[in-house]
């Protein structure tokens, strides 16, 4: 924590964001002796700041700067200024994530080749195969402490919530039922304790049993002496020299003063809204459409996963709030099988919400009240829930743009987050809702009801990877096609969404990118 780099030190890599991408990258570079400055827009929190309190933590750690939700979707009505549920703080959204650590499936890296063109979708293969990423998946799993083979930790015991869903799933013929893989310790691992089944995974793990860069990669990177983390540092623009190579990042510090950190290279990892926003805001005479945007794809192809929730009231108490929030996964529908009427697959992930959030999210629309509503809430302890995590097809018109006139507290144009569904997304969602309903009916549910999707925590695709510069923003290393010392290091580089939670893949990509950066530096190319 004591290392300080000068603002005019042009030997540092500047990393913007400290979450799954930026935090992992900073640590991996530090272990190689590569200096970095991490600019984190949010505050630094301690474990003692983490409470088992849904609304208190929502207000404490969420990214609540002004954003505009847009597009033909319910969120536009119900959460007009909260399109995404992500974190502003050191550790980023790894404080909030629920720990589900699934790898993408091999075919998901080449979805376009598998299914061909689909009208209305901007499908593209990743310029990277599963086989190329696999060693980094193993490394990421060991690094994060993912239950299962790589870490040697057993999977979690099934909690009551998953027992209910799994019994129903078995009865409808599903077989791929697992309480993992999760980056939540089932025994002490990596100097962190085992899970106490407290619930509240998404409010931050009070025990540190769930992997988060907040208390792993970030302090460890700082301890090497090769990394300085600056909280309350909001990146405003990335600057470049006359040849078009980036050389500095201008940011607002805690007092609102503008600072300028010189840079050897810049890695953008601010999540899929802020990362393209920063590139667009960094337009210049040389790059009038924003940095790294010769393809016009910066900010486009925004994907969130095709999602919905299904909850069921059971005949007896389930107490879904006890134990990990996302406690079990059903993977039978994750396969590619066009006979279902859609491409891509989905996972069914058992989930819980506490009463305060459930009361709000069960139906956030204007009609979410009345005797039936209250009657369900009185059966809160009898509920079980499942979340559908499905492939969301990229569409060029879904994305992040800048408002013409509205500015945020930093004087930056407010981002407009536009998202509509492809018909494929709708078909997938309907299928998932029906299958989830069947599972709960098979296990004797008293009633089953749909719950709309929340402001999304899975935001990917807005600076996508592509083999050809005209199709995307970065190459298979996350390096900008247009600017060789500019990198994207978060989920915005995803070419497709897969049917899996994004964090493990973000970490694997960051570890791979760190190797690549080190190698290029050793060759004198960076």
């Amino acid at each position: 924590m004591s290392t300080r780099f000068e603002h005019d030190d042009d030997g540092v890599v500047v990393i913007i964001g400290s979450g799954a991408g930026g935090g992992t990258l900073a640590h991996a570079l530090a272990r190689k002796g590569i200096k970095s400055v991490v600019l984190e827009a949010g505050k630094r929190y301690a474990l003692e700041d983490i409470e088992n309190d849904e609304w208190a933590m929502f207000e404490k750690i969420s990214w609540l700067d002004e954003r505009i939700t847009a597009g033909p979707r319910q969120l536009t009505e119900t959460f007009p200024n909260l399109p995404a549920w992500i974190v502003k703080g050191v550790g980023g959204s790894t404080i909030h994530w629920a720990g589900v650590a699934l790898r993408f499936q091999p075919h998901e890296f080449r979805l376009h080749s598998e299914v061909g063109d689909i009208a209305g979708a901007n499908l593209l293969d990743w310029p990277l195969s599963y086989e190329e990423l696999e060693p980094y998946y193993v490394q990421a799993e060991r690094h994060m402490g993912v239950t299962g083979e790589a870490s040697g930790m057993p999977l979690h015991d099934w909690n009551n919530n998953f027992m209910v869903l799994a019994e129903g799933a078995r009865r409808v013929g599903y077989e791929k039922l697992r309480a993992g893989p999760m980056a939540i310790n089932t025994r002490p691992y990596d100097d962190r304790p085992q899970c106490m089944q407290a619930g509240f995974c998404m409010q931050g793990c009070r025990f540190g049993a769930k992997w988060s860069t907040m208390y792993t990669d970030i302090p460890r990177a700082e301890a090497t002496g090769y990394c300085e983390v600056r909280p309350d540092a909001m990146a405003l623009t990335i600057e470049h020299d006359e040849r078009g190579r980036v050389n500095a990042v201008v940011y607002a510090d805690a007092e609102g003063n503008r600072q300028r950190q010189r840079a050897r290279a810049v890695c953008v990892a601010g999540n899929s809204i802020e990362s393209p926003r920063l590139l667009l805001n960094s337009h210049s005479a040389l790059f009038p459409d924003g940095l790294a945007n010769s393809s016009g794809q910066v900010g486009r192809n925004y994907m969130t996963h095709a999602t919905a929730c299904v909850f069921a009231e059971m005949p007896k108490p389930v107490n879904m709030h006890r134990g990990t929030t996302f406690a079990g996964i059903i993977s039978d529908e994750a396969r590619l099988d066009r006979s279902r009427g859609f491409v891509g697959g989905y996972t069914l992930e058992v989930m819980s919400l506490g009463l305060p959030f459930f009361a709000k999210f069960m139906d956030p629309a204007n009609g979410g009240w009345g005797r039936d509503y209250a009657a369900i809430l009185e059966k809160y302890d009898h509920l079980s829930g499942v979340w559908i995590c499905g492939e969301d097809l990229p569409m060029e018109e879904n994305g992040i743009t800048l408002h013409d006139t509205r500015k945020d507290q930093y004087g930056l144009p407010v981002p407009i987050v536009y998202k509509g569904d492809h018909p494929n997304d709708e078909a997938l969602r309907r299928h998932g809702q029906q299958q989830a309903r069947s599972c709960y009916e098979a296990v004797g549910a008293v009633r089953v009801f749909d719950v709309p999707d929340f402001p999304t925590s899975h935001n990917v695709g807005t600076n996508r990877m592509s083999a050809r510069p005209e199709d995307g923003v970065v190459n298979q290393w996350g390096q900008a096609h247009d600017i060789d010392n500019l990198f994207v290091s978060d989920g915005s580089q995803f070419t497709s969404s897969g049917a899996e939670n994004p964090t493990l893949t973000i970490v694997a990509l960051a570890l791979r990118q760190a190797d690549h950066i080190a190698e290029r530096m050793s060759r004198g190319e960076l």
Partner: protein
């Protein structure tokens, strides 16, 4: 359709409630636990209470838990609330010839509220209540079976996170 038992219960509730409204409210004892604004304006509080109880009806939850979370709304948007309640009474008179709080049937009251549910007044009350009412820790265990913060007790290891027996099939 309401069952006879429900009708009896709601009738009892209704009588208790209207009794409170009829000027005797402050002598019932419970109202000393009302927030200050509600004690200062018991009529306004009574009308809001009926509304709040129709939005999220939980018969066993005491009045003050509905009133307390509405305090900031009364402080910041008093005019909106008064105008909204007056509008609701106007609609009640048109449809039933009486004040909203004097309509005995919960179904009829709900039907009136469905007409205004997209309006600013109704949503201000609903959005305040949905957060405030259900974020009241004293109510969680007894009324909903929710246990709240658990880390102080070491989470649920050995305390019932994986003890379900599915014996109802």
């Amino acid at each position: 359709m309401t069952t006879p038992l429900e009708a009896t219960l709601s009738r009892r509730r209704f009588l208790t409630f209207t009794g409170a409204l009829a000027g005797a409210g402050l002598t019932l004892g419970m109202s000393s636990l009302w927030p200050r604004w509600a004690q200062a304006e018991p009529d306004l509080a009574g009308r809001l209470l009926r509304l709040g109880r129709d939005i999220y009806p939980h018969a066993a939850i005491e009045d003050r838990y509905y009133l307390a979370p509405l305090t900031p709304l009364l402080e910041e948007r008093h005019e909106l609330i008064v105008a909204g309640l007056d509008d609701l009474d106007r609609r009640a008179h048109e449809a039933h010839g009486r004040d909203y709080t004097a309509i005995e049937s919960a179904t009829e009251r709900e039907a009136l509220l469905r007409q205004i549910q997209d309006g600013e007044f109704f949503q201000a009350v609903r959005n305040t209540l949905v957060v405030g009412l259900y974020d009241t820790p004293e109510l969680w265990q007894a009324h909903f079976g929710y246990e709240g913060s658990s880390w102080e007790q070491g989470g649920y290891v050995g305390r019932g996170y994986n003890d379900l027996v599915i014996d109802w099939l």
